[in-house]
Amino acid sequence: MERSDRVKIIHNPADATVFAPDLDLAYDGHREPWQLPNGKKLAVSLLLHAPRYQDDVPSGAIKPLAMQGGVGRDTSEPRHGQVARLSQWDFGLTVGIWRLLDIARDAGMPTAVALDAEGVEAMPRLAADIADRADEIVVRGRAANIIIGTGMSAEEEREYIVRARHAVESASGRACVGWFGPERGQTAATPALLRETGFRWFGDWPVDERPVILDGAASGLVAVSHQLEAEDMFSLYTRGLSFLEYERLLDDTVAQLLADAELVGARHLGLSWFGWVLGQAAFAGVAERFLRRLAAHPDILLATPGDIALLSR
């Protein structure tokens, strides 16, 4: 019996949204295997985040309820007058992103860099300098701590997206078709709005190990997953792994994905790294060693997230 034909036993509350809109229910072993060119087993992409943190957030803007960075393990918003989080995130722009770009270049790893509106408007040359070195420019909303969230009308959200895209494209001189929202903030309408405003892919959903083409109102938009455990901020700050454990986790992840590709089809690993995290001197060696190992592996395809979206077809 097909799923839709069954008499449902569960009666969901009327105000619950049980499934994410526009996302099919598809499972490994029950779908056509994904294939990569030249028989590659694993595609790895690298998205570097270069956001600006706003110490003063305009009234009415939506802020995250918790964020990493600053003193100790506190994730609540710092009291006004403490500049630790502001300046730690800013480190990503002054030093960290450049260190990671150098490391990626030396390893032969293509890079996408995510920029936000506040950053490029305050420092227009930042976008131009990064555009000179990045293979793809991605739009990262308005600011690290000015996010999309419930409470925004569709028109407000559309304006947020369009304004951010316009700012990043104007400052970088590059056409942008990829989106990664700050703090992965979304409403139920976000994918459809991204599709409507011309984006081809977005990276917020850590939902799969291959690109996913959305249905419904967002039809054609591609979710390029950036797995949470592979993200530096999540592993090193939220989970609190040591950098040694994080490096081992990355290696173990690649080994398992290569093995799984034989069983369930080609895999994709979306690396999501922050200038203020893995760009720190103490952590940068992880990026350097790991990317070199990736580049030396014959079964791994190195690509940008935009390339991954194209390969989803």
Binding site: R73, L86, D90, M123, G240, S242, A281
Partner: protein, 310 residues
């Protein structure tokens, strides 16, 4: 006058395009050891609980930190002396007046006093400009009176706190560096309302025993691994791009002064003394050198990068 916002204090230019910063003697990485020697009020102003664990007085909290000053500090001194590590004490200034034994031990070793407030349970948040001005006046009076008439050059805000006026008042009280900003591997100019020269001094919450060991529960071995990974990378990058850099090793007697941590502290110091490219020095010396040799060119370069003029 509208205060300068915290975002606008920062004078941005990526490290990749700046004029080169160099350190004396051709050394490439300056490292400052910042022992945080703190006093915590038994009952803080307002009576609040320091950690929200029990109502004030929280004797577990108070005594743990007091033990740091009674025993841990002196144990750490033995490691400092063994490896002859210049130090910049991030000091609760009450220590200068109330704990002469500690004060004199620091002065004998020529430690630089960096203000860390009066007590670490008296943050600067919300102070009126008048009250904060008085705070800085009292701070300098304490140093002049009790510490060989040496004025204080730097501040790490108590509980890492400040106000919209902190940077401006610091320069008006003769100070030159502010360690609350961790946005760079070099000192950087900070905008002030008077145009007075103030720089950020790279402090660390990564090479710092409280966030690393006390809050996040990593081991002493990991602290050493972090120090080595950080400074090794800075040395490598400085050779690659010619930009001298700064690292800070921040300690606290109630954490790194614990008996089980001494071997790790010694391992850190031994590492710092193992490479002649490392300039083990005090924060004020780094700030002075930067202000004398690099501040003007760095500021001009940043303004040009941003399409502005001085």
């Amino acid at each position: 006058m509208t205060p300068i916002t915290n975002n606008d204090r920062l004078v941005f230019e990526p490290i990749t395009s700046r004029p080169r910063v160099t350190w004396p003697g051709g050394r490439t990485v300056a490292v400052w050891h910042a022992p945080n020697v703190e006093h915590y009020d038994f009952v803080p102003p307002g009576g609040g609980s320091p950690q929200g664990r029990v109502s004030s007085p929280d004797v577990q909290h108070y005594m743990h930190r007091a033990a740091g000053n009674r025993t841990g500090f002196w144990r750490m001194l033995r490691a400092v002396d063994r490896f002859e590590i210049p130090s910049t004490v991030s000091l609760s200034l009450a220590v200068l007046e109330e704990m002469p034994e500690i004060r004199d031990a620091m002065l004998e070793r020529d430690w630089e006093v960096m203000s860390h407030g009066i007590s670490n349970l008296r943050p600067l948040y919300g102070l009126s400009e008048e009250d904060e001005d008085e705070f800085f006046a009292v701070s300098q009076r304490l140093a002049r009176t009790y510490y060989d008439d040496r004025p204080i050059k730097g501040l790490l805000g108590p509980k890492i706190s400040g106000t919209d006026n902190t940077c401006d008042l610091m320069v008006e009280h003769g100070m030159s560096y502010h360690a609350d900003w961790i946005h760079d591997e070099q000192p950087r100019p900070l905008r002030t309302r008077s145009g007075g020269r103030l720089v950020s001094m790279p402090y660390s919450y990564m090479l710092n025993d409280v966030p690393l060991l006390h809050a996040k529960h990593y081991s002493g071995e990991y602290f050493v691994a972090m120090v080595k990974a950080q400074i090794d990378r800075l040395l490598t990058d400085a050779e690659r791009d010619g930009q001298a850099r700064v690292a800070c090793v921040a300690t606290h007697p109630f954490v790194m002064g614990q008996p089980g941590m001494q071997l790790h502290l010694e391992a850190v110091f031994e590492y710092l003394r193992s490479d002649d490219r490392i300039w083990v020095t005090r924060a004020g010396d780094i700030a002075d050198h930067y202000l004398d040799h690099h501040y003007d060119t760095q500021l001009d370069s940043a303004l040009a990068w941003n399409g502005a003029t001085a």
